[in-house]
Symmetry: C2
Subunit: 450 residues, 2 copies
């Protein structure tokens, strides 16, 4: 039996004899009784265990430390202090595994940086119970969404021999201590994938609609709140789909996942709302209900040029948007999320469909208030010669990438896809502002612990 079963139907639980296993988060002792804040991980909420000196091992129980694993038996009763709540009157408490007096998670305020150092214990704290429970729920929401819509889940390769997004910033995978890759495990240089998109496209040309959801890697030496060397990505790819249809899918997907979390993680969001001082419910409800605006990059620049704000970076056609521009668009002008599409081709990836204006590509970024870019997608270039020339210009080996090019020869069709960094989404949903705190064991420059 689990705590979650008791909260499921609180009224029906009252009077029940229960047996639970779990851990002590807090332990307050009085002369003739004691109170244990008890959790078992089955739901966000803990439950209070009340015990009295009528128990034979009362003294022993009082000596049990915070952090200990215990088994308890008792009766579910209405809380003595809050008639809307339940607690358990213990008839038996057995110590399973104690914790030392100096157990690191004492019931006081710990800095998030300290908790990061004890990443193997932090999932026991309320903030990380909330975060990692939402991480799990969001994963399920994503799988359910695509599964129900008929997408096939594809495990694209992690170790890759091609260097899709152009050179640099990848980790090499090797069995050698020198760089003679011909003698190496794969007989050539291999690295960790930065994306599954290109392989994803090959499967979209067979299954119509596919998605990936797996780890990706970047060896970028950035020590910021939003960069990690290892993170998870969701990359759907849809055949017979253009940029407008892609935006429809992105919007439906995002709202659906957000609704799922709003529905199933109320306790977690409520706690995180208090913890982060961000009105998460408002943020998510608003996203769920907004009709996401759609403007071209050109229109966005025009809006920015007319803005009353003094920007540090002058908005310019042909240039990327600065963080301050994104902020103005989402938090002031549109006061909500916005799709910016048709981006200048020179600042976007080679595989994006070149528009008839010869200046822009059919790419779209979803910008959201507070967080900036949440998703990036595009219609893919399907014209063989155009794509090959672009790749050659960028120094991508078109002979090695023959298979990607051949997709444009063998039953080609308009197709489009997007990528969403899972951690970026989690940062947005949980309000926790450092990527290190939404990944169980983050990997960053100089840091690969646990």
């Amino acid at each position: 039996m689990y705590i979650n079963d008791l909260y499921g139907d609180q009224k029906a639980s009252i009077g029940k004899e229960v047996k639970l296993n779990g851990w002590i988060r807090n332990h307050r002792k009085q002369k003739k009784m004691g109170f244990i804040d008890f959790f078992d991980g089955s739901c966000f909420k803990s439950i209070q265990i009340v015990y009295e000196d009528t128990l034979a091992n009362f003294d022993e129980i009082q000596s049990i430390h915070i952090g200990a694993a215990i088994s308890i038996e008792g009766t579910v009763v209405v809380s003595a202090v809050n008639a809307d709540n339940i607690e358990i009157n213990a008839s038996n408490i057995i110590l399973v595994g104690d914790a030392p007096e100096d157990y690191p998670l004492q019931p006081k305020k710990h800095s998030i940086e300290f908790l990061r150092e004890i990443a193997y214990l932090r999932p026991r704290t309320r903030v990380f119970q909330a975060v990692f429970r939402i991480r799990s729920l969001a994963s399920m929401a994503i799988h359910e969404y695509f599964h129900n819509k008929g997408y096939v889940y594809v495990h694209t390769p992690i170790i890759t021999g091609n260097d899709a997004e152009g050179a640099g910033n990848t980790f090499t995978v090797t069995c050698l201590e020198n760089n003679n890759y011909e003698e190496d495990f794969f007989g050539k240089k291999a690295s960790l994938a930065v994306t599954g998109q290109l392989e994803g496209e090959t499967f979209a040309m067979a299954f119509g609609k596919i998605y990936t959801f797996g780890p990706t890697f970047r060896a970028e030496n950035s020590n910021t709140k939003t960069h990690a060397a290892e993170f998870w990505m969701i990359e759907p790819e849809i055949a017979f789909c253009d940029l407008n249809q892609l935006m429809d899918i992105e919007e439906d997907f995002l709202k659906s996942i957000v609704s799922y979390i709003l529905d199933k993680a109320k306790d977690e969001l409520e706690f995180l709302q208090g913890f982060t001082k961000i009105d998460l419910f408002k943020r998510l409800e608003k996203l769920k209900e907004s009709k996401i605006a759609r403007v071209t990059h050109k229109e966005a620049i025009e809006i920015l040029k007319k803005a009353p704000n003094q920007f540090v970076f002058t908005p310019e056609f042909g240039k990327d948007l600065a963080r301050e521009h994104e902020k103005y668009l989402t938090e002031e002008y549109f006061n909500g999320p916005v799709f910016v599409y048709n981006w200048p081709k020179d600042i976007k990836a080679f595989y994006m469909y070149q528009n008839d204006d010869n200046e822009t590509v059919a790419a779209v970024d979803l910008l959201v208030p507070d967080a900036g870019e949440l998703m990036g997608g595009s219609q893919r270039e399907v014209r063989y010669d155009l794509l090959r020339d672009k790749m050659e210009k960028l120094g991508i080996n078109t002979e090695e990438m023959y298979w990607y090019l051949n997709l444009r020869k063998f039953g080609s069709c308009d197709h489009a896809g997007f990528g969403m960094g899972f951690e970026r989404f989690l940062i947005y949903v949980t309000g926790v502002d450092n990527i290190r705190d939404v990944i169980p064991y983050p990997r960053t420059p100089g840091y690969c612990e646990f």
Copy 2:
């Protein structure tokens, strides 16, 4: 609209006007009409498109090659040759993207080895439509199972600084071309994880029940049908759980996943049954309905010693089971799956709970007919000193692994978990006998293409 919508309720579909996008698998031409075997990836089945010379672009349609992407409009009708089937009378067929005359997937028998070489096109064939659709379905079944049972999904790290299962057989992850790891990205040697179990245990001590489902890596130079350098693993870990309870969970899990696939992949299994000449329905139905036998390793050896068979390897207490032993146990003696538990400690991993006999550990392997070991699990060692001594004996750095040892000090409890190689499961379910054919883009020694 998708083909899957039409087959969902075939009767209701008859008479409907539809518009579909997809690809040509086969194209038979007659003087006054033509027949297109048309698929869109929305379900395993394709559908026949019939067109006649009343269409304005009849000649153009007849010149469309196999492999081409087309858009069609037409009416769903009862098949002319099989009253139980439906087909589409086309009113319009538009070429979206043709394929060349020498498109590799012509409608004839291709060897599976040839298809492996064109891994970017093979998902369009029926055998790989079946395999990769089952791969996706099985993934969903696994997520649903654990989610519904209250397990938290954990993304354990792929890049790791610790060398959990002992030295060797791991890939190094580096940004350097020399071996001065102190100057490397993480400031120390990092490798690709062979398991997420140890980190999984830390989360089980917070959430009670967790599972991982992610890629794992082994740099083993084995060119066999069952070895790949990159494969996906499912690793659940359960707190307050002993070996017997673990076997209950394994049995329930396996039967549930198999039932899901039996239920949702009938067409795929039927095709694969014909392709592999293995009675897959019988195999899976039997597994689903069997009560899985449980014997200790010692009992298994006794059974083998009494067997009438002449084994190449003599069964022996204290030794591993050979493939022929597994075969005898599952295919002859028990005629079904069997849990073999309490294994000799010297042939099993350091983290397994040592039994009171001082000879065995609380480990369990699930053996199944035809495939051998499908899952491996154990109750974990929770006695700090015993575990530390074992690790030291094996040369595992206990200082670096302080966090794993500390779990035994900070609210420790009996816990257990198992691992299932996803591809091994898929080989069993699909009957396809080479691991290279159940992974979208397999990585093996000397092979890292696409």
